[in-house]
Amino acid sequence: MGAQFVQFSLTPILIGIFAAIACALPGNFLVLRRQALIGDAISHVVLPGIVVAFLITGTVAAIPMLLGAAGAAIVAVILIEAIKRLGRIEPGAAMGVTFTTLFAAGVLLLDQSDTSNVHLDVEHALMGNLESLIWFRAEGWHSLFDPVALAALPDELGRIFVVCLLVIALTVFFWRPLKISTFDEGFAQALGLPVGAMGFGLVVVAAIAAVAAFDAVGSIIVIAMFICPPAAARLMTNSLERQVWWSVGFATLAAILGYVFAGYGPLWFGGQNAVSAAGMIAAVSGVILGLACLYGPHRSRVGAARQQADA
C-alpha cells in the first residue's frame, strides 16, 4: 500500500468518489420528484454532443467535448418538453423518443466520421476509462506535497473536483427552496418560489454533473450514481438531511469498493487481469440498494402494512 497505490489507484478512486458524490446529490431530488430517468436520458445524449464537438473542432480536447455534451443535454431537455407539450404525450414516452433518437444520431455520426486516429468510440463513452487515469509522477505518499508531481495529476481529477464542489455549494445554497418545492410544489408556489426555474435548474445541475462525471468514468456510473445511492438512502431514513448524508456515504462506499473489487478482486480468484472498474462500481451500488431494499428501516411504503393486512 505504498508508492504503487498512490501511483495507480489513488487518483482513480478519488475521481470515482467525486463523480459519485456529484451525481448522487442532485439524484436525491430527482428520485424524490420521480424524475430519476432524466439522468438516464442525459447520459445517452452525451454521445451525440461529444461527436458533434469533435466534428466541429477536430480534436478530442476536454473543454469542447464538455461544451458539446452540455449543449446536447440542454437540447434534449428542450426537445422532451416540446414533444410533451406539442404532442400531448406522457413524459416517459417523450423522454424515450428523444434520447434514443439523439443516441442513434450520435452512433451514425460517429460511424460516418473519420475517428480512426483519435480515441472516440461508443464503448469508451459507455464504460469510461477510469483505470487509465493514473498519476505517473507519483513516487509515494510524499508526492502529495511535491508541486512538480501534483502538476502532473490527471486533468480529469481537477475538473470533477471543481464540479463536485459546485454541486455541493449549489445544494447547500438552494437547500430550503429545493426541499420545499420538491415535497410540496403548491406550497412553494404560494410562497412565491420560482418552482419552474428550480426544476429546470435542478436538471441543468444534473446535466453538468453527468457531463463532468462522464468525462472521467463513462455513462454507466453516471446513471447508477444518480439513482442507486439516493434510492438506497431513501429507504434508510425519513429526513431529507439524513437521506442526503446517507446517499453521499453510499456513493463513496460504492466508488471505493467497486474500484478495489475491480482492480484486486480477480487476483483473489486467481485471475490476472482487472475487470471494468466502472461496471463494478455500478454493480456494488446495486448490491447496496438491494441490501437497503431487504433490510432498510424505512423500506416499506406508508400504509403498506395495512394494505397487506386487508388483503
Binding site: 428520485v31 414516452a93 424515450g96 433518437t101 454507466i220 461496471g279
Partner: protein
C-alpha cells in the same frame, strides 16, 4: 439499379433480403407490443428490460465455452439474455411492490446495475483465451455486417412468431391497457395478461438484440406507438398503426443500411422511425402541430369576424387592423372601413342572434342549453327552428336593414 432500390426490392443478396424481412417483422411486432406498454404509461420499463439482457449474454457465452461448445451460438446467447432480462423485470416489479421507491427509480437502478454487471462480465470474457474474438460488443449497438445465414433466419422466424403472438393476444391486451379495472371486473386475469405483455416485450427485445442492439431496441418499442397515437383515437387501430410504422422503419432502415457501407443498421432504423414520428408530430390531421396552428388561426378568424360585425351593428368604428382584414377579405367592409351591404346584413343577423340569446336565457333556465353560448356557436345549432321562431315572436321580428342605396 441504385443500391437503395435494390435493397428495398430484396435484390441485394440473400442475407440482406432475409435481414430486411426480419427487421420489418421485428419492427411490426415491436410497434404492436410497445403500444400496450405506452398505453399503460410504462414505456420506459422496456429500457430496464433491454439493458438487463447484457449480463445474460455474457454469462451464456461463458457457460457455452465451458461446456465445450461455440460461445457465439446466437440461440444460446439469446436464451441467456432472456433469462437475465426476466430477472431484471422481476426486480423492477419486486422493488416497486415491496419498497416505497417509485417505478422510475426501480427502472433506473435495474438498468444501470445490470448494465454495469454486464460490462464487468464482458471484460472477464476478454481475458478468456476464447473470448478475444467473441464480438459480444456487437450486442450493444447491433450489427448486421458479417451476419450468418442462421442468425438472419432466427431473426426472421422470431419476428414472425412475435407478430403471431401479438395477433393472438390483441383483444385481452387492448382491454387491459385501456381499463385494467374493467378488465378485472369482467373476468380477465389482469396479472396474467400483464405477464404475457411483458413476455412479448422481452421476446421482441431479445430478438432485436443482434439487429438493433440493446441500447436502441427500446426505440422500436416506444417511437412507433407514440407516432401511431397521432393518427387515430381508436384503441383497436393504434396497435396496427404502430405495427405498420414499426415495420416500415425496420424494413426501410435495414434496406438503407444495406445500400452503403458503414451505415449502422440499428441507428438507421431508429432514425427512420424518428423521422416518421417528426412528420406525424408536425402534420398529423387532428393532433399534429400544423393542424393545431390551423385550428387556432380559424378560431382567431371567427372571433375577429364576430367582434367586427358586432361593432358594425352598433355603428362603432373598427380600428383593429386584423379585424379589418378579416372583414375586408370576406367582402363585408370596404377598403376605407365603410360596411358593404353584405356586411350590414351579416351585422344585423349577428345583432338579432344576440337578442335571441337574451330571450333564450329568459325562457330557458336550463344552463345546459344557454350555457352553450360562447358567442361563436350559431344559435341554430343549439335550438330548434320552433324555439327560434318563438324567440323571434317575442322580439318582434328582424328590424329592416337600412342599406346605403336604399331599396
Amino acid at each position: 439499379m441504385n443500391p437503395l432500390a435494390e435493397a428495398l426490392l430484396l435484390q441485394a443478396g440473400y442475407n440482406a433480403a432475409l435481414v430486411g424481412i426480419g427487421a420489418g417483422l421485428l419492427g411490426f411486432a415491436a410497434g404492436a407490443a410497445g403500444t400496450f406498454l405506452f398505453l399503460r404509461k410504462r414505456a420506459l420499463v422496456s429500457d430496464a428490460v433491454a439493458h438487463a439482457t447484457l449480463p445474460g449474454v455474457g454469462l451464456a457465452f461463458i457457460v457455452m465455452v465451458m461446456a465445450g461448445g461455440d460461445g457465439r451460438n446466437l440461440l444460446g446467447l439469446l436464451a441467456g439474455s432472456a433469462v437475465s432480462a426476466w430477472v431484471g423485470l422481476w426486480l423492477v416489479q419486486w422493488m416497486t411492490r415491496t419498497t416505497r421507491l417509485s417505478e422510475d427509480a426501480a427502472i433506473g437502478a435495474v438498468l444501470s446495475v445490470f448494465f454495469g454487471l454486464g460490462i464487468v462480465i464482458l471484460t472477464v470474457i476478454q481475458t478468456m483465451s476464447s473470448g478475444r474474438q467473441a464480438g459480444l460488443e456487437s450486442f450493444l449497438l447491433g450489427s448486421t455486417a458479417g451476419m450468418l445465414f442462421n442468425d438472419a433466419l432466427i431473426i426472421a422466424i422470431g419476428g414472425s412468431l412475435a407478430v403471431i403472438a401479438t395477433w393472438l393476444l390483441r383483444r385481452p391486451m387492448t382491454l387491459v391497457s385501456f381499463d385494467p379495472d374493467y378488465a378485472a371486473a369482467s373476468g380477465t386475469n389482469v396479472d396474467r395478461i400483464d405477464l404475457a405483455m411483458m413476455g412479448l416485450v422481452m421476446a421482441v427485445t431479445v430478438i432485436g438484440l443482434k439487429l438493433v442492439g440493446l441500447i436502441l431496441i427500446i426505440a422500436l418499442l416506444i417511437i412507433p406507438p407514440v407516432t401511431a397515437r397521432f393518427w387515430t383515437e381508436r384503441s383497436d387501430h393504434v396497435i396496427w398503426w404502430a405495427g405498420i410504422f414499426g415495420g416500415v422503419s425496420g424494413y426501410v432502415g435495414a434496406a438503407i443500411s444495406a445500400s452503403a457501407p458503414a451505415l449502422p443498421t440499428g441507428a438507421i432504423i431508429v432514425l427512420v422511425a424518428a423521422g416518421l414520428f417528426g412528420l406525424s408530430l408536425l402534420f398529423a390531421p387532428a393532433r399534429g402541430v400544423a393542424a393545431a396552428v390551423l385550428r387556432h388561426r380559424r378560431f382567431q378568424w371567427r372571433v375577429h369576424r364576430r367582434q367586427g360585425l358586432l361593432a358594425m351593428a352598433r355603428a362603432e368604428p373598427i380600428h383593429d387592423p386584423f379585424t379589418l382584414r378579416v372583414l375586408g377579405s370576406e367582402g363585408l367592409v370596404r377598403r376605407d372601413g365603410v360596411p358593404t351591404d353584405a356586411g350590414r346584413a351579416q351585422a344585423a343577423k349577428i345583432a338579432r342572434d344576440e337578442r335571441r340569446w337574451d330571450v333564450a336565457r329568459q325562457i330557458h333556465l336550463d344552463a345546459g342549453l344557454t350555457g352553450r353560448y360562447d358567442g361563436l356557436t350559431p344559435i341554430e345549432q343549439v335550438f330548434t327552428p320552433d324555439e327560434i321562431a318563438e324567440f323571434d315572436a317575442r322580439i318582434g321580428g328582424p328590424a329592416p336593414v337600412a342599406t346605403q342605396g336604399g331599396h
